[in-house]
């Protein structure tokens, strides 16, 4: 089966600015991939190419096997732009109804109710967009992206305006989508969030991929900490596999063990390493 999103040698220049220079990236069916990078790295540009808003100047992108920008590709995806607005005079329910018509979804009011419920807007179905807070319209944006059961979701900073509860809602939602086999490409600056939900991450810098891989593998071991009577004991070069041995030894030596923690570098450290502290 074709990957939900496949990008090969993708390049884009805006006049003299080279926003992307030969990016290869794949998002498999049901995979959740985080796209990271400093401001101006080209994350939004990549997503816009995938959904056909921007034409690449080199390389190619396909969505579920169809060339990005084609009607088939657009029918397979849901998109949340980083800067978007819905007409202020529409209610939440009307926005979704419009997108159902445009996306040829025939699941009617039931789908709209389900989606609003999913993003925590069940009580605001009749609220006008102009009367919504920033976070509420972002939630509505996420619901809009889910209209018509897309196989690929492209989310460009979907939680930038959300409160902690809202972020958690989105996290739970993403996990549920993953379980349903929906592929997601998530642009975000919130590394802790990406670390929690993404199967893989890709880090862009100046339009090129500089690091990427399975989220857990990117994080390097940084030793083991054991909580004993005398305080914390730190084993610098130990890893998860060494834990049973360490604990057995401590108990043999008559120590009381209260807790064990395997330390790994955070995604943040990996990220800072990869981008060298760069921001544009």
């Amino acid at each position: 089966m074709a990957a939900a999103l496949a990008v090969r040698g993708l390049g884009k220049r805006y006049g003299r600015v080279e926003a992307l220079r030969g990016v290869d990236l794949e998002v498999g069916e049901g995979e959740l991939v985080g796209l990271l990078g400093p401001n101006g790295a080209g994350k939004s540009t990549l997503v816009k190419i995938a959904c056909g808003l921007v034409r690449p100047t080199a390389g190619e992108a396909t969505v579920c096997g169809a060339p990005a920008g084609s009607a088939a590709a657009r029918a397979a995806l849901g998109y949340l732009a980083e800067l978007f607005r819905f007409p202020g005079w529409y209610t939440a329910d009307e926005v979704l109804a419009l997108h159902q018509r445009l996306g040829r979804s025939d699941r009617g009011a039931a789908e709209r109710r389900e989606l609003l419920d999913l993003v925590g807007l069940a009580d605001a179905a009749d609220r006008r967009v102009e009367a919504m807070s920033k976070g509420m319209s972002q939630r509505l944006g996420i619901a809009q992206a889910l209209v018509g059961r897309p196989r690929l979701l492209l989310l460009d900073e979907p939680t930038s305006a959300l409160d902690p509860v809202g972020r958690r809602t989105v996290r739970v939602l993403l996990e549920e989508l993953k379980a349903r086999g929906v592929a997601v490409l998530l642009n975000s600056h919130l590394l802790s969030e990406v670390e929690l939900v993404c199967d893989r991450v890709a880090i862009l810098l100046d339009g090129a991929l500089v690091a990427g891989g399975v989220t857990e593998e990117l994080a390097r071991p940084r030793g083991v900490e054991v909580d004993v009577d005398g305080g914390m004991r730190r084993y610098e070069h130990a890893g998860r596999a060494d834990v049973p041995g360490i604990v057995a030894r401590l108990i043999r030596d008559g120590e009381q063990v209260y807790g064990v923690r395997v330390l790994r570098s955070t995604l943040e450290e990996v990220y800072l390493d990869a981008v060298g502290g760069a921001t544009e």
Binding site: A71, R74, A81, L83, R85, P87, G103
Partner: protein
């Protein structure tokens, strides 16, 4: 497709565009009625015309209806411009367009639907205001134009041309810049029409030729001229000569050529807008 047409109509409705338009049009029609009423009242008190060869009622009626048609064109153009100035770039800058474009409808359908949506508002509006003016002039002074349908259709077509130009401009320019550009273009067209009259008055063939080319480059002007011509199509003799000396007289006739040209012009403007929109990064 209907979803987008409806979207455009709802936009006009909810933005209170309709409310403002209806209110101000009522004000205009009232003023027009007032002017027409006193014009014809004065006409009666002037007594019999100095020469029987000139039908003053026709002269006054056709002139004041010409003014009404000018106002109709102007109001229709204002409506067309404001419904179309932000359709592409303006909406894209505000983030309104992207969620729609990403849906499977396709950019061609989207743009055509937005065009049809604005036409669906402008055309009935123009026709209604034109017949409003006709009724006011006829009711007050008993002057009825020689043709009804043709000038109505031509005024409506002129407004459609302006809507198409507005949409083409919206692909390249942000809302404010596009609004200024389309209005200036509209103004230039009107100036070309006036220039043509001055040319005829001075008997300068060169000015007339320049004006004619200009009014065809902006076919809403040529259509308006043709519509003006149509209302006094069957008027002859000294009345005709007197009319031609007036501010709305001496209108150029376009004929079949003009209709073909208008269709071609709309086709070219529309195709240009579509090609540019389809290639545009949003």
């Amino acid at each position: 497709m209907t979803a987008i047409v409806v979207y455009g109509l709802q936009e006009a409705l909810r933005r209170r565009i309709f409310a403002v338009v209806v209110l101000l049009t009522a004000v205009f029609l009232f003023l027009f009625w007032l002017g027409t009423h006193y014009l014809f009242a004065d006409l009666e008190s002037l007594g019999p015309p100095p020469t029987n060869a000139i039908d003053t009622r026709t002269l006054a009626g056709a002139t004041v209806l010409g003014l009404g048609m000018f106002a109709t064109l102007f109001l229709g153009a204002v409506l067309a411009v404001f419904l179309t100035i932000g359709v592409v770039r303006g909406d894209a800058e505000r983030g309104l367009l992207q969620p729609l474009v990403v849906r499977p409808v396709g950019r061609t359908t989207l743009l055509l639907s937005r065009f049809l949506g604005s036409v669906a508002v402008c055309v009935p509006y123009t026709v209604i205001v034109f017949f409003g003016a006709v009724l006011i002039v006829g009711g007050n002074g008993g002057y009825w134009p020689d043709r009804y349908a043709l000038p109505a259709v031509e005024l409506a077509a002129a407004v459609v041309v302006i809507a198409a130009i507005g949409i083409l401009g919206s692909v390249f320019l942000s809302s404010t810049a596009n609004g200024i550009a389309v209005f200036m273009f509209f103004g230039s067209g009107l100036v070309a029409g006036l220039l043509g009259q001055i040319g005829r008055g001075l008997n300068s063939e060169r000015i007339e030729r320049i004006a004619k080319v200009a009014s065809w480059l902006a076919p809403f002007e040529a259509l308006y001229q043709d519509a003006l011509h149509a209302i006094t199509q069957n008027t002859v003799g000294f009345t005709r000569i007197a009319l031609e000396l007036g501010p709305f007289g001496g209108a150029e006739q376009g004929g079949l050529q003009l209709r073909v040209w208008t269709a071609a012009y709309l086709g070219v403007v529309g195709a240009g807008a579509l090609v540019a929109f389809v290639r545009r990064d949003l």
